[in-house]
Symmetry: C2
Subunit: 412 residues, 2 copies
């Protein structure tokens, strides 16, 4: 029988009633003839509670014990979901990560999936079981210890299962009903997309859209897993939600698929850096070692052997970046006059695979921002996205202006 | 290094602070030179919450899923305890049942321990780990599924580990500071026993004393594991609590060790049963099949081919017993005039290995009850205990009278 993977996030299994509602959705797919693999998160709030206990017990915790503790929430939901399905006369059983076994690296708290053997679960499907309920977010290391995949890891679990079992589709049930052209809380004109290309979703996810974990989209793209994002709180049709798929499957699309934003950015500028070959490595090496996630980088034209170097990073990493730069100055690795931090900036991006074949997207974007009197501080571009740093107070205005300029409220 | 097993019940690990207090106790034993195996229960209340969810989801639940759900509480405590010990610089790691692996039968929700291989944990002790923290109450079936040992199973886990590792002692930390001659809430003269024999503890446990699970005492007796019951809420010396041990280790003891009671008993009498060979089997077979735990049985002298048969059972099984008897009457297996249920009775017992060599214990017991005007409804005896059924309203009075009559407030 064809296999379908269905993933339910924490809000979708937050109570016994919600688990029942989710189980009914599973029952509908079973009735259509699918063998279903259900991936469940912990009931919402549970993982945070467990993480809180670990942090309170041991601020610099042993990640192996962290994993043993925080993985327990998913085990509870998996058992309850299986029982709920059984009550509906749907043959089901639960699997914990080590029972599959979902094999991962030993990088505790952020392990990567290495292998998902299909024989155990397929043997049960062959015996007539219709639903395998798998605890998301967790696996087992080569040493036989429990690992977790990092926050949001249940999305990744779901896609990995879909790839391993050659599933027809991987449905991600969440508390929103799909992927929007932008955040509906910022623009009332935001429109749900019926389809979006993997590359676009990947950019949107890494640019701040919280619908899917970036790694899960990467994995889906690599293994060509059809991903569907949809709401567990609405009646569903086969066309509900947003399908994340190969761009070949999207006949018509807008040049720009969506507008993303990230509120908590900081712009850091090293003034009058002594320029020399290797200066970028001398700056960004120490930043990387200090755990600063540098995003955008701009280097001014060098004058008389000195230049200004600007980069952006999350606002809560500014202190760390300053420390790293001071240390590098002290040790003589770099020589600069001053480090200026602007912590009142936000990043706004437009994303779309149509940009590849359409000229003028950047010009249109800059025009739209200029018309609103919004000054652009830093620009970066890739093949399918353009991002700008602007003053944070203009963020909502910028998102709305760009949404209007690219007419995202209209379907292609 | 010698091995010590320490078990902490739910109230002893109810909060992070209590886990810390328990970990300090473990640290004291490590400092003495022991390699320690710590068995932990779930934080108090957690298992009840999980059981509640399972029952609400599926009243006639699949016990395999029940086990997968309810075992998760112990995993949390095991990880937190290990982290707490690490914070104290005590090398520790956690084990879940399947990681040991603690092998059990497939009797889910009431599995029995079959084997505890010691190689995994001993290898870590050899590497310098000093504490193995093991999630109690759980194991793994031959089919690779999670099993639980039934309520109170963490005591049994602890004793089984002590037997498997040849531990010097198994310390059960709980919320009382030892085994008493009777319930201190009923008799203010109740005295803590320094030592008690396995056989006596076994009788007291099965007669209603809630300090230790009956199975754990059985197991300790079979494998000669020295058990100590003590409080996790008081400063401890080496002589704290009560040692449960072989009777040879108890030099002097009272004839009677303690007085136990069970409040929720019912007395059932089948009036005028047609007596014939095999009539007991015809009555108690159907009761057993109906899940009625028959305790005491008395058969009157048969007159003219008919007799009265009296038995006791827990008061919440009366309905089930009545149904079983009516069905047996209908099917012609038995023939009786009437079934009378007296649901206002309690059982009071005196227990002591000294009874074996002392005559007159029963006479003294009946005397003491008679002096208080308490009528005895049913009597049963074994080698080391005498139990009587009496009206429930006299229960406390009977316990106090017997405690006085056998002078249990005085040590031997």
């Amino acid at each position: 029988m064809p296999v379908l993977v269905m993933k339910f996030g924490g809000t979708s299994v937050a109570t016994l009633d919600r688990i029942k509602r989710a189980a009914k959705r599973v029952g509908v797919e079973v009735a259509k003839g699918y063998d279903v693999i259900v991936i469940v998160s912990a009931m919402s709030g549970k993982t945070n509670e467990l993480v809180g206990w670990v942090n309170e017990t041991s601020p610099l915790f042993d990640a192996r014990e962290y994993d043993a503790v925080v993985s327990s929430g998913e085990n509870v939901t998996a058992g309850l979901m299986s029982l709920t399905l059984q009550e509906m006369d749907v043959p089901a059983r639960s699997w914990q990560g080590w029972q599959v076994p979902l094999k991962t690296t030993s990088a505790h708290a952020s392990a990567r999936i290495e292998e998902i053997p299909t024989d155990n679960i397929n043997a049960k499907f062959a015996e007539g079981m219709r639903v395998a309920v798998v605890a998301g977010f967790q696996g087992i290391s080569p040493e036989g210890r429990i690992t977790t995949l990092g926050r949001g890891g249940s999305d990744t679990t779901a896609v990995a299962f879909a790839a391993a079992f050659g599933a027809e589709r991987c449905d991600i049930y969440t508390d929103v009903d799909g992927v929007y052209t932008t955040d509906p809380r910022i623009s009332s004109k935001a429109r749900k997309l019926d389809k979006i290309a993997f590359e676009e979703m990947l950019e949107l996810a890494s640019l701040g859209a919280k619908v899917l974990q970036t790694r899960s989209v990467e994995l889906a793209m690599r293994y060509k897993v059809k991903l569907r994002v949809l709401s567990s709180f609405e009646e569903q049709s086969d066309e509900a939600g947003t399908l994340v798929c190969d761009e070949e499957e999207i006949m018509e699309s807008n040049v720009v698929a969506g507008v993303a934003y990230s509120r908590d950015e900081a712009k850091m500028t090293l003034l009058s850096v002594a320029d020399r070959p290797g200066i970028a490595a001398a700056i960004f090496g120490p930043l990387s070692e200090a755990g600063v996630n540098v995003d955008m980088i701009v280097q001014n034209i060098s004058e008389e052997g000195r230049t200004d170097m600007t980069f952006s990073c999350p606002v809560d990493q500014v202190k760390r970046a300053e420390k790293a730069m001071e240390d590098a100055q002290t040790s003589g690795e770099i020589n600069y006059q001053q480090l200026v931090a602007d912590t009142d900036v936000a990043k706004v991006s437009v994303v779309g695979i149509g940009m590849r074949s359409h000229a003028g997207v950047a010009a249109k974007m800059f025009d739209a921002l200029s018309s609103e009197g919004i000054n652009i501080k830093v620009i970066t571009t890739s093949e399918i996205k353009i991002s700008v740093l602007i003053d944070r107070k203009y963020m909502e205005l910028a998102v709305q202006a760009l949404h209007d300029a690219f007419e995202l409220e209209k379907a292609a």
